[in-house]
């Protein structure tokens, strides 16, 4: 089969649900009973209404493609996944999938708390469609990946939640299907394990042979894994195209937004279990544009449902590839934390005396952490902002998408120069102060001018940077 063969073909997919609701809801038990007695079998005043969670969705996926599915909550992403993984049947249309399909709508489906880790690996593996022999073969690898060797014969009800998800993810990660359908399962465990699992997913997707469909709210993940994106909006395919432009458009579409004022009340959350405190609005520079080298203020408006002690607030900026570039945080390094009473609302203003973000586009996120640094509210990557050049911005940074941090500190530049033929030439030492433009440790290369070169621990530039 050629590499561009169509593996998944969806045509006119639709799924409708019937919603039952009473025209006038009975407000008391007596009323409800009277209503029941009058209409013992009939639907009475009930009204039926059909709701199309998905309508007229058609697309093809070719062999080896990694397709991301994005969309707001309730747009129909999950319904689409459920149709593709055969959990529920479509109301209209058809899907053809060539090859062995595995779908992963959550990790640890069917894990039984009473069973030991070992028993659960086998059970979960067979639920996911692995053969017993296959599990035997991969067992050691799974256990090693999950880092639970010592607790294999302990019931998983005694596992810490971290161990539990690690084991669950490890089983899923060792599936070996031709077509893989994944939903939001990438973000389990602590940061180290997340990196490890993302690496594993990357291995899985990078072979080129495997076709993968991923639904995620994490645009960073989507960006780094996928080639193509389908954007589902109100149950329809709104956009189907290459990942870069699609995400850019997705981020820039933010309803009810004036310049640099962002409503986050209804934005998508991640890792937030209950609402003790909810971030409502984020304002940058009182709504004015953000410039490099100038002061930056971040206003975070919130409301609380419960008492929250020792809350730290922060906003963070990531580049389009998802690497986090800068945080403005009340706790770092100033250790400002706030005790906030229940059922109140308020505003935190964070002021940085200089915005180090170089001109370009960044993805903005916000967070509120409790005293033990667990997440109270976390709005990752909800919008995209533009940072403009300021009066102090060096010309070399203007008009280019740099999306990195410029750190200001003096740099000593040493200049050696001699004619090509002479054995040793004159060396001129000249102390110069320059602005070194460094990049976060995570991205060890930088793109100054045209050539790429590695930035060492104390990067010096051959030519003094213009300033």
């Amino acid at each position: 089969m050629s590499s561009d063969a169509v593996v998944i073909s969806a045509r006119d997919l639709g799924k409708s649900y019937t919603i039952d609701h009473l025209k006038a809801r009975p407000t008391s038990l007596r009323e409800a009973l009277r209503h029941r007695l009058r209409h013992p079998f009939g639907k009475g005043r009930r009204e039926r209404e059909s709701f199309w969670a998905l309508k007229d969705v058609s697309f093809d996926v070719r062999r080896g493609e990694v397709l991301g599915i994005i969309g707001r909550n309730g747009a129909g992403k999950s319904t689409l996944l459920k149709l593709l993984s055969r959990i529920t049947a479509p109301t209209t249309g058809s899907i053809d999938i060539v090859g062995r399909v595995a779908s992963l709508l959550e990790v640890g489906t069917g894990f039984h708390p009473e069973l030991t880790g070992r028993e659960n690996v086998y059970l979960n593996g067979s639920i996911l469609g692995m053969r017993r022999r296959e599990i035997d073969r991969k067992f050691d690898e799974i256990v090693e990946f999950a880092e639970v060797e010592k607790f294999l014969d302990t019931p998983v009800k005694r596992y810490s939640s971290g161990m539990y998800v690690r084991l669950a993810f490890a089983v899923a990660a060792h599936l070996d299907p031709e077509v893989l359908i994944v939903d939001e399962v990438l973000s389990v465990g602590d940061a180290t394990f997340q990196r490890k699992s993302l690496g594993k997913i990357r291995d899985v997707t990078s072979g080129g042979e495997r076709t993968v469909l991923i639904v995620s709210h994490n645009l960073t993940t989507i960006h780094s894994l996928c080639d193509r994106v389908i954007w589902i909006k109100s149950g329809k395919v709104f956009l189907d195209g290459p990942v870069g432009p699609a995400i850019e458009q997705y981020l820039s579409e933010d309803l009810g937004r004036t310049e640099n004022v962002f409503d986050v009340e209804d934005a998508e959350r991640a890792h937030v279990k209950e609402t003790a405190l909810r971030l409502r609005r984020l304002t940058l520079n009182d709504g004015r544009e953000v410039r490099h080298g100038e002061p930056l203020t971040v206003d975070l408006e919130y409301r609380t449902e419960r008492n929250c002690d020792g809350v730290a607030f922060g906003a963070f900026f990531s580049n389009i590839e998802g690497g986090r570039v800068m945080c403005v945080d009340s706790d770092v390094p100033t250790s400002e934390r706030f005790d906030i009473a229940a059922h109140t609302q308020g505003k935190i203003t964070l002021r940085a005396h200089e915005n180090l973000l170089q001109p370009g586009r960044y993805i903005l996120g916000a967070v509120a952490r409790s005293a033990d640094n667990s997440l109270i509210d976390y709005v990752p990557s909800f919008t995209q902002i533009e940072v403009h050049a300021g009066p102090s911005t060096p010309p070399i940074l203007v008009g280019r998408a740099n999306e990195q941090l410029s750190v200001r500190y003096p740099v000593e530049a040493r200049h050696e120069n001699r004619p090509i033929d002479s054995p040793c030439g004159e060396v001129t030492d000249k102390d110069m102060t320059a602005f070194a433009h460094t990049w976060p440790a995570a991205r060890a290369t930088h793109d100054a001018g045209n050539g790429r070169h590695a930035a060492g621990p104390s990067p010096t530039q051959e030519r003094p940077a213009p300033c």
Partner: protein, 296 residues
């Protein structure tokens, strides 16, 4: 929703009809359609390891964190039989003259418990695994089938105990014992059929879950599980004759204890009833199958 070889779809009345074994690269065809679709036999065969894993899970989980472990499989029916033997045999004086009452009660209980447990477990098999149903695909029939398999494990243990007791009391049941698998099949069909209806209905109406224990209790009283029908007044005998489980009980006792051969009419009635249960059960189940994940 079926694994089929591509290209044959045009011939099929229903797109979910199981066909020949899948080719190297199977095509999953998902089509919109309502109504009944035949059980996905190929899918069940392909998922046989899941069936075994789930059975294994059910058996293991039941006796986790118990001091006596699997011994409970034996202890439960044995203790019940002892209670029955005391209440009906000693106190009420309903003892049968030719066989030790304990054997008589245990044989009846074996049949009844297997039947009741099948209905109970099959009935709860979907709701009890709701999480799996809403998160992953597999032929849904796997769940009730694994419940039947786990009941079979219990039956096997009870049977071993029964054989030990037969040796102890020096009772030779006769060659009729070879027909026991036939009675067991009829019994399981009856239980599975009723269980499937209960399971399908319970997905939408949890009321069924409350109804099952009551119905089973009633069933036990109208089946001569622990007493002989000869103690029942003549004018109420018909209640027992109408009960399709009556013939089966007789057959079990005949095979295990060598009691009087049950009338072939009663046996045929039981067999036919089991067949009807099975067909109706599968029909109800298959009609609802596609909506389970949406409703459960």
């Amino acid at each position: 929703m079926q694994v089929e070889s591509p290209g044959i779809a045009a011939f099929m009345m229903s797109p979910t009809r199981p066909l020949a074994r899948p080719l190297q690269s199977p095509t999953v065809r998902i089509r919109a359609h309502g109504g009944w679709s035949p059980p996905d036999l190929i899918g069940i065969v392909q998922h046989r390891e899941l069936l075994l894993s789930l059975t294994d899970r059910d058996v293991r989980v039941r006796y986790k964190q118990t001091a006596l472990g699997v011994a409970w499989v034996v202890l439960q029916p044995l203790l019940t039989a002892l209670i029955f033997a005391f209440v009906f045999g000693v106190v009420a004086g309903l003892a049968t003259n030719d066989r030790p009452y304990l054997l008589f009660a245990f044989a009846g209980l074996m049949a009844w418990n297997t039947f009741a447990t099948t209905i109970n477990r099959v009935g709860y098999s979907l709701v009890g695994n709701a999480h799996m149903i809403s998160k992953i695909y597999f032929p849904r029939l796997i769940l009730p089938l694994s419940s039947v398999c786990s009941t079979l494990v219990d039956f096997g243990v009870s049977l071993a105990l029964m054989l030990l007791m037969l040796v102890h009391y020096r009772v030779w049941p006769g060659w009729g014992v070879l027909l026991l698998p036939v009675w067991l099949t009829i019994l399981l069909m009856m239980g599975l059929g009723i269980g499937l209806v209960a399971a399908s209905l319970m997905v939408k109406y949890r009321d069924v879950g409350h109804l099952i224990p009551v119905a089973l209790q009633l069933g036990m009283y109208i089946s001569p599980v622990a007493w002989s029908t000869s103690f029942v007044p003549e004018k109420y005998q018909w209640v027992y004759q109408v009960n399709p489980f009556f013939g089966l009980l007789g057959a079990f006792r005949w095979s295990l204890l060598g009691e009087t051969v049950p009338s072939s009419f009663a046996l045929a009635y039981s067999g036919l009833f089991a067949l009807v249960c099975m067909v109706v059960g599968l029909l109800v189940f298959q009609v609802q199958e596609r909506d389970f994940a949406d409703v459960i």
